[in-house]
């Protein structure tokens, strides 16, 4: 697994490298409204899940198709998309962007005449998890996640098994948040936030390229956890002076 450093830019967010050319063409053209493409799109989502990849824009295109063709809605796919956007970022807009394209679960289920209630149960649950994640309440998150509620059980028994490494995805995202703040952190705190026991924490620390120092983990400098007070000096660009230089030249 990679070192826990946030992405420098958004290129990978709006056009991930793993996205096949056909999907790119599809979501950039009017073909994205064609419901006959749904099977390909859904298949692409399932391959993301299996391979542990993530392509938000393609997933939003699926939700858009459901929006326009309510009779084609697939609640399981919707839940998978929400899980994907939940586990791929701590502070990004991904989860809310997905929610923005959804109606109330009951309305969706009504349109496809399904009596599988899991969508209605899971959407509020996932929304709650998302609120905990974005406010960095990681300990509470794990309590909810590992809890014995109906929603937690459905999520863990029916949906997570098809994902490649959902829990490690979450841990990596949490590690990103931690790494942006801490230059060192106690192992006990780390194990609470990552939901790992003593030896697992050690393994994780090695996995993300951190080091030990007694009861602490040392996080390498990454630009966010080693801030220095600076003085912003005025920086004049040459093109601001074009008029002046031009005027001085004769």
């Amino acid at each position: 697994m990679t070192v826990a450093v946030p992405k420098k830019n958004l290129a990978d967010w709006h056009s991930p490298e793993t996205r096949p050319e056909v999907i790119h063409e599809l979501i950039h053209g009017v073909d994205r409204y064609n419901p006959t493409n749904l099977p390909y799109m859904e298949e692409y989502l399932l391959s993301q899940i299996k391979e542990g990849q993530y392509d938000l824009f393609a997933n939003l295109a699926i939700l858009k198709l459901y929006q326009f063709n309510p009779q084609h809605s697939n609640p399981d796919i919707i839940i998978h998309i929400l899980i994907k956007s939940l586990s791929s970022t701590v502070h990004g807009p991904d989860f809310n962007l997905s929610l923005g394209l959804l109606r109330e679960p009951t309305a969706i289920l009504h349109d496809i005449e399904s009596d599988d209630e899991s969508l209605s149960i899971l959407v509020p649950y996932l929304t709650n998890l998302h609120d905990l994640i974005r406010t960095c309440q990681f300990t509470k998150f794990w309590t909810e996640f590992n809890g014995d509620s109906e929603a937690a059980n459905i999520l863990k028994s029916r949906f997570l098994p098809s994902h490649a490494h959902p829990i490690d995805d979450l841990r990596l995202q949490f590690s990103l948040s931690i790494a942006s703040c801490f230059s060192s952190i106690t192992l006990t705190q780390l194990s609470r936030w990552l939901n790992l026991n003593g030896s697992e924490v050690n393994e994780w620390i090695e996995k993300v390229g951190w080091t030990f120092e007694g009861e602490k983990a040392i996080i390498p400098k990454n630009g966010d956890n080693d801030v220095k007070a600076g003085v912003v000096k005025e920086n004049v660009q040459l093109n601001q002076l074009t008029k002046l230089v031009a005027a001085a030249a004769y």
């Binding site: 709006h14 948040s177 703040c181 007070a229």
Partner: protein, 612 residues
């Protein structure tokens, strides 16, 4: 319902074929029913029909008599100008003539119906369609549109687009860009107005319910997107813009554009359609798609869209709103500020335009959104604009900065008053009475409320941030356990550390850099000058200070004095080139000028010698 597979099949010329373009059927005058009954009584139906037609014609002629002379003359000339593609005249008649006559004769009622004036224009159907477009726009702007108006204006605009897109080859028509923009702008406006009217099944009478049940396709999201995408495809506008950006020659671009896109009418319609798509996507709550649509459109100062103020303002407003939905506050702030600066400068030229009111309203909304964005992402921004924000929203800003539940209410109020009027993709099930009843008994959350909730969840997530930030400002380093005792909420060390992580994230975001030309692109940036590192449980605070900025001031003033100097130099007083000849025979006052000129003379002399 319109066939949903209609418009992503770019099957050549048939893009709009499935779009319902019904035969124009206008209600006969009230007497027509009487005639119909007469007709039933009459045995010689044919003769009677003839008579009826004749009578109707007679009536129409009489009604035409009623139309004021200047209006008739205007229509005849207007028709003539459009036939000749005489752009300056069309522009003039469209922008001023029409409005003047509206003020004089039709400030309280409709313009004459198209059927009525058709003899004046030789029954030219294209002109009549354009005329109806203006007719309905006037109804929407000044009067209360009935359901018939809404349906007919939809049918009319579809007929127009159908004519443009499905004729054999490009049509020989040219219209001023202002009109083309207004046409598409109105198209989206009428769509959103209809969609929000349709979204509420309450307070509709039987007749309206019936009409809505029957006419599912009218103003449906699909058909609106269909029209816009068809115009984009027909004009090859994306390919054109891409080629232009790559620096291809005009000939190459024209070749890429094809038969349609190389004509200004189609190119401009395609271009404005992209902007309308941006709007529709924002209204339907899909900000990423909205920004993706604008991928190839240049937004910089001299871009084509800035030629029409309304278009410029609308584009920036919606781009800013899309950035807000992505939590990219600095980008939203930058977008709003840049168009507001432009608007303030342009204001003096536009106060008389009939759209001035709506443009000003949209700008007012942006000030409100700026109050939101700058609270969520404080940092230096344009002082002149921010002073207006502070002036208009002083009370609200004070509450927002205090935080707490009261602030949340203020965020809500500002958002509701300033956000776009979001729409639902799916209308209530009018076609199914039992489903409609269920819908009424348990109405879903409306679109605006949905997006308000999402926005508020963004706000709630960072609600503790400003307090922690204020607290950290007081220290260079502080133990987390000590911070716990200071924080207002009851909590333990872990919670404080979590708060700090939220603060860290709230001071970072992605923003579009100068080098990136896609709106969706962004680089990670730091948005606040207060920053910190946590070493175990010890928080080290670092604050970046910025020097006062002088360069801008000096550059502005140096340029200003240069302009003053140039003006003086260009003024009709004789200016001596060579100091030697300057003194000879010069009158007294010229000597004085020479003296004042002494300040800059050495420099000039130096340049001259250098040139030699």
């Amino acid at each position: 319902m319109a066939d949903p597979t209609a418009f992503y099949e770019p099957a050549e010329d048939e893009l709009l074929s499935s779009l319902a373009v019904p035969v124009q059927s206008y209600n006969p005058d009230s007497e027509a029913d009487e005639y119909r009954r007469l007709q039933e009584l009459e045995q010689h139906a044919y003769a009677q029909q003839q008579l009826m037609v004749a009578e109707q014609e007679q009536e129409q002629l009489q009604a035409l008599e009623q139309v004021p002379e200047d209006v008739k003359r205007f229509l005849v000339l207007f028709h003539q100008a459009i036939l000749e593609n005489d752009l300056p005249t069309i522009t003039n008649m469209y922008e001023s003539g029409w409005n003047k006559l509206t003020q004089a004769h039709y400030s309280q009622n409709e313009w004459p119906e198209a059927e009525l004036i058709s003899p004046l224009v030789g029954n030219d159907q294209v002109f009549l369609t354009l005329y109806r477009e203006l007719y309905f726009r006037h109804v929407y702007a000044k009067l209360q549109p009935t359901i018939d108006d809404r349906f007919q204006s939809y049918e009319n605009i579809c007929e127009l687009f159908n004519y443009l897109l499905n004729s054999e080859g490009p049509v020989p028509l040219d219209l001023p860009i202002q009109w083309l923009w207004d046409m598409l702008d109105e198209f989206v406006y009428q769509f959103s107005s209809f969609a929000s009217w349709r979204a509420n099944p309450k307070n509709k009478n039987e007749e309206e319910l019936e009409a809505l049940a029957e006419a599912q396709h009218i103003w449906s999201c699909y058909s609106v997107l269909n029209v816009l995408y068809s115009l984009v495809q027909k004009s090859q506008i994306n390919e054109q813009l891409k080629a232009e950006k790559e620096g291809k020659s005009p000939e190459e671009v024209a070749e890429i554009a094809g038969d349609y896109g190389s004509k200004p009418l189609y190119r401009n319609l395609g271009y404005f359609s992209l902007i309308c798509l941006l709007r529709v996507h924002v209204l339907l709550g899909d900000p990423t798609l909205a920004l993706q649509t604008m991928e190839h459109v240049d937004l910089s100062g001299g871009a084509f869209l800035t030629r029409i103020t309304a278009c410029h303002v609308t584009t920036y407003y919606h781009v800013g709103c899309a950035y807000m939905a992505l939590g990219r506050w600095p980008d939203a702030i930058k977008t709003f500020i840049s168009v507001l600066i432009f608007f303030i400068r342009m204001k003096q030229y536009h106060t008389r335009s009939y759209q001035y009111g709506s443009i000003a309203k949209q700008c007012e909304r942006m000030y409100a959104l700026l109050a939101i964005c700058t609270t969520l992402s404080p940092g230096p921004s344009d002082e002149s604009i921010m002073s207006i924000v502070k002036e208009h929203y002083a009370d609200q800003l004070a509450i927002l900065q205090r935080g707490g539940d009261e602030a949340l209410e203020t965020f809500k109020d500002l958002f509701l008053s300033a956000s776009p009027k979001y729409l639902n993709v799916n209308p209530p099930p009018y076609e199914d009475p039992s489903a409609l009843e269920a819908y009424l008994a348990n109405p879903p959350i409306d679109a605006t409320q949905r997006f308000l909730d999402l926005f508020i969840s963004d706000v709630v997530a960072v609600k503790g941030v400003s307090n922690v930030r204020q607290l950290l400002k007081l220290y260079t380093s502080i133990d987390a356990s000590k911070l716990v005792t200071f924080s207002q909420d009851e909590g333990d060390e872990e919670e404080v550390l979590q708060q700090l992580m939220v603060l860290k994230a709230a001071s970072r975001t992605y923003a579009k850099g100068q080098a990136q030309d896609k709106l969706l692109d962004g680089e990670r940036i730091v948005t606040n000058n207060l920053d910190f590192t946590i070493d175990g449980a010890m928080v080290h605070v670092e604050e970046t200070t910025s020097h006062r900025r002088f360069a801008g001031f000096f550059i502005r003033n140096a340029e200003h004095s240069q302009r003053v100097f140039n003006t003086i130099k260009a003024s009709p007083l004789p200016i001596q080139r060579k100091p030697a000849t300057a003194t000879t025979g010069a009158p007294q006052d010229k000597n004085e000028i020479k003296k004042t000129g002494a300040a800059w003379q050495p420099k000039r002399a130096r340049v001259v010698t250098a040139a030699q």
